[in-house]
Amino acid sequence: MTRTDMAASPLRKEDARLLRGQARCVDDVHLDRMLHAVFIRSPMPHAEIVGIDGSAALAAGAALVLTAADLPFIDKPWVVRYWHPKIRNGMPKFLATDRVRYVGEPVALLVAEDRYLAEDLAALVEVDYRPLPPLASVEDARAPGAPILHPEWDGNVAAAFRLEQGDADAALAGSVHLAKGRFTFGRQTPLPLECRGVVADYDADRGDLTVWMSTQAHYNVRQNLATVLGLPEYQVRVIAEDVGGGFGAKSRTYAEELVISHASRVLRRPVKWIEDRLENLQATTHSRGVTTEIEIGCDAEGRFTGLRASVVLDLGGYVFTSGIMTAEIAGAHLPNCYRFPHQQIDVQCVGTNKTPIATYRGAGQPEAVFPIESLVDRLAKRAGLAAAELRRRNLVTPADLPHRLGTTIAGLKVAAESGDFPALFEAAVADSGYSEEVQDLPDGRRLAWGLAAAIEASGLVNFETANIRIDGAGLVTVFCGMTTQGQGQPTTYAQVCAEALGVQLDRVAVRMGDTQLVPFGRGAFASRGAIFGANAVLGAAQALRDKALGCAGQLLQCDPGELRIEEGRICRAGAGPTEIDLAAIAQAVGPGGQLFSGDAALEAQYVFKSDQPVTYGMTVHVAQVSLDPRTGFFAVKDYLVAHDAGRVLNAMIVDGQIVGGAVDGIGGALFSELLYDGEGQLLTGSLADYMVATAPDVPRLRLVHHETRPGTNPLGVRGIGEGGTIAPGAAIANALSRAIDPHGSAQEAGLSVLPLSPERVFAACRAAGR
């Protein structure tokens, strides 16, 4: 499989139905006798629940009102994929029991004949709250005498741990130049355009449950539905056929799918719940929300000596079902793509009365890259070096590989095993036109460049399943344990299968997003679609090819080693095609065929499993901004992303992922912030308040591809779903800082909080002008 073949970029097989409006998202599912649900959510950030009275709603026509007291499984544990040993419990119940800990927490469920009626009736459910003092910030949570959110959370700390290598204190003390700062990455949310939703249909007679939902992680949902509701796992089916974006918001199980499924079981009717945007902003997990105090040093030659940091996550009211993954990665990735011989990183997750934190595209990596890459620019000033030069002197080189970052994720030592970071860096600098000279424009504005380099992790969560079947007409179907939210898997998996098996691309169909397809899988998150999904498809296709060639050898009475498959036909080495094709083999293998030996079909299943926990790559983002220092008004004028995707399966799709991710990151750096008031009320409850990038906000992005092959997987691919989102905050902040303070005379430009809102930039301009 050569890169040229695969990078030919066939257009997407899945487009036509999406373009015609034929996608079937969860709200497009309509079942006979289906009822509609709304959740009654806490309007209080912190309160005791004194009582809940649904009688008026029931009297007015509600089909069902459920509270925690009505859930027989209320004390059952969640099934989580991975758990950090330092987490001190504090997971939510499926509905709030005696206390609510954030605005939007589900308290009760109401079911009625239609959604409009359900919303009317929900207003009749009376919940009696006794307010408790809200912890609206980490400072509130740490104040003496602050109420403790969960009994195990001593000091409202939900988890704390240290990542350590060498002696950072001594290394910093012995440094020639030092820089330190305090950086905050504001709270954000993944914001898929489709909100979450569930349709549950419990069949009481068969005792099985079918759930349609908008999720990235259908198998984890199935595990939870089976164990929490007490159903056989293979009688629970979770279908996520078309999903309108995920970005980490849907990569875990939420309480809603369990409660809706239970309601269907109680009512013996299908029940639909579709999250509205207010609920989405309140109750779908948030992310970022990290403050990092960090100090780094270098010697007289500009070589990094040590790194000491304290990473504090504003966790919200609960540890949610993906644990504290983002805090772990935010800490573990601080050394970034550099050699830091000594480091000491303290990570603390502090409970507050806000929505729980979980993953969002990048998952802790943007939170790490913003502080370290901002601080490298500041240290360069102190050391009298160009910011690019200081990076050059410290980048991990090919000679350093495998390079251990010195930190761990999920208890595993993380290491970059491949790549050419200096070459990628130089390509980014050269191709972008990056310069550290600030250009003064005649109208008083300034043009300045900034860059940020980043290590890029992909492929966490370590296996995936594919099954490939060939029918009697020779048509190939790939079944995979993945889901798709538009990342192109139906096309790239078909490419990988077609290439490995030896069939035409248009003969291959891909099915995924249904737990009935393969016994177990994972889903689409952690940039694992290519590394795990495509390698599972490769393994299954190779096994199926060998099986088919073995059958062909029997039919042709020759050594299978002399045979190969081309465009679905069996060919002899050195000779032309035979009369046998995959259709004939499929017919021969199946029941009634001459080679039948008990197999139902010509098929092969393969689970790709890797012991390498993470595949690392590198990306460099270069931004040019224009700034009016009098007003603080600025715009991103030019933007370049250099990246290493490993082997490119479909260049069109890879580029789409990089550009889409980077624009999401740019919007996040410029606009997106979930704001709470001092009482713990969410102020940004609509898309008029919570902003993301729109088309005029961003320039045309330029891409630079630099390809090296990782050894972590047979295809030699790296994940590319998240890399674009990792570095924009740091790159743009560095450009703006340079524009604000062109000669480095001010102490620090002070752009240490994301997003770079107008008031923050204006304040930094004012500070530099004094």
């Binding site: 409006g21 996608a23 898929p192 355009l193 999903v243 799709i653 889409g660």
Partner: protein, 151 residues
């Protein structure tokens, strides 16, 4: 209330609740699932349909406000011989990923195309797209698809 209108060229005559939104009527009553809903308040543009030639947010209209009007949804764009020109350009330029915003983007552009107002310059295309949020593509390939069709 009684609602008479035309949807994708077919006459519709239905009894609807006065408060039913046009988006819900199209999606759940007529089962035209191509129109999507993203914010319920007219910001994201996903629910854009064409009413009497104008692009409108179907989440901001009551169904009964379409009385007497001709409504067109994304389902009207493809003919029996294949995708429409904008749809085809979106396919060729990889201008969609999850596809959830796509119907609204297409109908916004279709309304411009029908009056010959599809922009031919990148900045103007980006302005034309400013009322549609796409979370996947970063807009760049949408811009390219529009420029392709407009030229």
């Amino acid at each position: 209330m009684r609602l008479h209108c035309e949807v994708n060229g077919e006459a519709v005559d239905r009894e609807v609740e006065p408060r039913m939104l046009l988006s819900d009527f199209l999606r759940h009553e007529l089962r035209l699932r191509g129109t999507k809903v993203g914010c319920e308040m007219g910001v994201c543009g996903a629910c854009t349909v064409i009413v009497d030639g104008e692009p409108v947010r179907s989440c901001l209209l009551f169904a009964v406000q379409a009385t007497g009007a001709a409504v067109r949804t994304v389902e009207s764009l493809a003919g029996s011989d294949g995708l429409g020109p904008l749809q085809d350009a979106f396919h060729r330029h990889h201008a969609l990923q999850c596809g959830y915003c796509t119907a609204g983007v297409l109908m916004t552009l279709q309304a411009l195309a029908e009056r010959g107002a599809l922009p031919r310059e990148e900045g103007a295309v980006r302005e034309a797209l400013s009322g549609n949020i796409c979370r996947c593509t970063g807009y760049q390939n949408i811009v390219d698809a529009v420029l392709d069709v407009a030229s």
